[in-house]
């Protein structure tokens, strides 16, 4: 079934039409039969009237009406006749109702014997005119049924639409729901048939909301709880190194493993904090250039350690945003560029402002990202094929960048680097008018 509304309207109107029209046909047949009887009775009365006429006053011009004719016969002799009547016997003198043809028409005849004057009276009426008259009267009663059907159809359409409105409301509310909207559905009026459906749907939404909340909190809580033991582990590693005084390969691997674990935990916490429902942004006017300078200053030792060259282009650029979140965004982009660019490579940060909005570009001359992978780099835990064995990462950095950009209404794109090789990340912030 494609549409309940269409089904109800079509099925109801079709049933109504079928039964009403068949009833009208039956009505027509019985009314026509009744009309025939009525006309016959009239003809009978007319024969009594004619038998009482004084035949001396009847001449060839005498008429009772255009559709009626009569003859009076006395001992096989026509003593009087109306205007229409022929000179021959209209119908055999048998008494009662018969049909006869004369004057080019078919007539209904009634023959009676006048016992008082001992003569035969024949009255006749044109059947076609009788039929048309009867049919017109009967059809007058049928035509309102036909005319009424469109009105009834319209009323049914309105009633069915009104009856289905809670269902329409329910489906449109469900359809309009945004991805993260887990608020319960409320209808203006809930019919009893829809009550269990609504309760069930709202129950599902509620359980889904709780499950999602548990899932989100679990990773954040786990990351938070892991912070302290990881810090303790790092201190103990440091103490162990002091005590042993050696730095074997296995020890270095262990230290790097702990570093990666700490990084993952920090990124998991950042990811949780940058989700739209957790992020309480304190948007104020901030200088993107100044924030970038701060991040670069903090990160510079790591760049220097790898003998990479770092350029910062641009000047003061005010945007509306959350300072802490923007710092995280720039740090993640810069850290990615630093990690994936080879030692001695180039990294460039460009800040520009235009009427359409501010732009931040972080580019490098590293191995780059293939076109096939570019649309997936923002997925959680996705790591590119070029990530290399030496680069440490958990695949959450760019997801966090995307979250923060979305929170600022900014758009992140992956492009080719102007170095000729490598990759460029462009964050386009909305302009003042946006």
């Amino acid at each position: 079934m494609t549409s309940i509304r269409k089904f109800l309207i079509l099925a109801i109107v079709a049933t109504l039409i079928l039964f009403n029209f068949i009833a009208a046909l039956r009505g027509y047949q019985s009314s026509m039969f009744e009309a025939e009887t009525l006309f016959d009775n009239q003809l009978l009365d007319l024969s009594r009237l004619v038998s009482n006429l004084d035949e001396s006053r009847i001449n060839g011009e005498f008429r009772l009406g255009n559709n009626v004719a009569f003859q009076i016969w006395d001992n096989d002799q026509l003593v009087a006749a109306s205007f229409h009547a022929p000179q021959d016997l209209i119908t055999p003198l048998l008494g009662g109702f018969e049909y006869s043809n004369f004057e080019g028409y078919r007539w209904r005849t009634y023959t009676r014997h006048d016992d008082v004057r001992n003569r035969w009276v024949i009255v006749a009426e044109r059947t076609d005119l009788r039929f048309i008259l009867a049919e017109n009267v009967v059809l007058e009663s049928i035509s309102p049924i036909l005319v009424g059907i469109p009105i009834v159809g319209l009323v049914i359409w309105v009633v069915v639409s009104f009856g289905l409105s809670p269902l329409t409301q329910l489906s449109s509310q469900l359809g309009r729901k945004k991805v993260g909207d887990l608020s319960p559905i409320e209808l203006r009026q809930t019919p009893s048939e829809l009550e269990p459906v609504l309760q069930s749907v709202n129950g599902f939404i509620n359980r889904l909301s709780l499950a999602l909340e548990r899932e989100k909190r679990f990773s954040a809580d786990a990351a938070h709880e892991l912070r302290t033991p990881i810090s303790a582990l790092k201190i103990q590693l440091h103490n162990l190194q002091q005590e042993l005084g050696t730095k074997s390969d296995a020890f270095v691997d262990l230290q790097q493993g702990v570093e990666r674990m700490q990084h993952l935990v920090e990124q998991l916490l950042s990811l949780y904090r940058s989700t739209p429902d957790q992020f309480a942004a304190e948007c104020r006017s901030v200088d993107l250039h100044e924030i970038t300078q701060d991040v670069v200053a903090r990160y510079y030792p790591m760049i220097e350690a790898r003998e990479q060259s770092l350029e910062l282009e641009g000047e003061r650029c005010l945007i509306s945003g959350d300072r802490f979140a923007l710092e995280t965004l720039i740090t993640n982009l810069l850290s990615n560029a630093g990690k994936y660019t080879h030692a001695g490579g180039n990294i460039r940060l460009k800040i520009s402002s235009a009427e359409s909005g501010a732009q931040l570009v972080v580019e490098d001359d590293g191995p780059g990202i293939s076109n096939e992978e570019r649309h997936r780099v923002f997925d959680r835990f996705y790591r590119t094929g070029n990530s290399g064995s030496k680069a440490t990462g958990c695949g959450l950095g760019l997801t966090i960048v995307k979250h923060i950009a979305d929170l600022h209404g900014a758009h992140v794109t992956v492009e080719d680097s102007s170095f000729g090789r490598g990759v460029a990340f462009r964050v386009a912030f909305p302009g003042a008018g946006a």
């Binding site: 079509l10 099925a11 049933t15 079928l18 036909l146």
Partner: protein, 270 residues
């Protein structure tokens, strides 16, 4: 006038409405397992528009057509239309496949074309008779009102029967609905073949054969039940041997199709 108009128009409308219902039902039931066959219902509107246009033109040129082939043009053209309808119906029924077809594929286009022509030809044959009848009546002013009223009443009854039969069958289990629809289509093909033979016999293009039975006393063709049976299964009170043979032949051709057999024996095709 009124009753004559009801009977004449009902006979024509009922046949076209039931055919359209059955085709809609079959395409819908097949589509539920095969989304691309006739992806949307645009073919109905094309078929209705073509049918109305053809009916009007056919009625308009009837005096010319009737003079063809030594004044048996109408009979021969009608019979040709009916035979073409059977052929296209067979192409459509035999073309129903199990594979998922994409909209716009060659198979979908052929299926849509067959459906459009089958329905348009049915409307043309039935509609042209109504148009001719109504045009003849327009010359008698006193008859216009009862005839139009009767035509409207008959149209309402015919279309309602089609709609209700469609929804009644939709409510049944899929394989039962498909069986009923395909059997009715087979009856329809049989009726077409029998009518074509009758027309060709009248035109002296087919041999006269003996009458097989006469059930006009038991169930007259022009009674309401007779009309309904005529529209549903092609009831004929006095069929000739050749008519009966054509009827059975067309019925069996539809019944031998893979979709019919699989619907009847519940195989995997549909």
């Amino acid at each position: 006038m009124f009753l004559t108009s009801v009977i004449l128009v009902l006979q024509e409308i009922l046949e076209a409405a039931l055919l359209l219902s059955m085709l809609l039902l079959v395409t819908r039931l097949i589509e539920s397992g095969n989304k691309g066959l006739i992806a949307n219902r645009t073919w109905i509107w094309s078929a209705l528009a073509c049918g109305v246009l053809l009916a009007w033109s056919y009625a308009l040129y009837m005096p010319v057509i009737a003079e063809w082939f030594d004044y048996v043009g109408q009979e021969v053209t009608n019979a040709a239309c009916q035979l073409l309808t059977i052929v296209l119906l067979l192409v459509f029924i035999y073309g129903i496949k199990n594979q998922v077809e994409l909209p716009g594929s060659a198979h979908t286009l052929v299926a849509s074309f067959c459906l459009i022509v089958v329905v348009a030809l049915a409307i043309m044959r039935e509609g042209s008779e109504i148009v001719l009848y109504l045009r003849g009546i327009m010359g008698q002013p006193e008859a216009v009102s009862p005839v139009l009223l009767g035509a409207a009443l008959a149209t309402g009854i015919g279309v309602s029967c089609g709609i209700l039969l469609y929804y009644l069958l939709i409510a049944l289990k899929r394989h039962i609905a498909l069986r009923v629809a395909l059997v009715l289509l087979a009856f329809f093909a049989g009726n077409m073949a029998s009518q074509a033979v009758l027309l060709l016999t009248q035109a002296d293009w087919a041999p006269y054969t003996s009458q097989v039975w006469d059930s006009s006393a038991l169930l007259p063709e022009y009674s309401v039940a007779g009309q309904l049976l005529y529209a549903l299964v092609g009831y004929e009170a006095t069929p000739s041997l050749l008519q009966l043979a054509a009827y059975v032949g067309a019925f069996l051709m539809i019944a031998a199709s893979p979709v019919f057999r699989s619907a009847w024996f519940r195989q995997d095709l549909v």
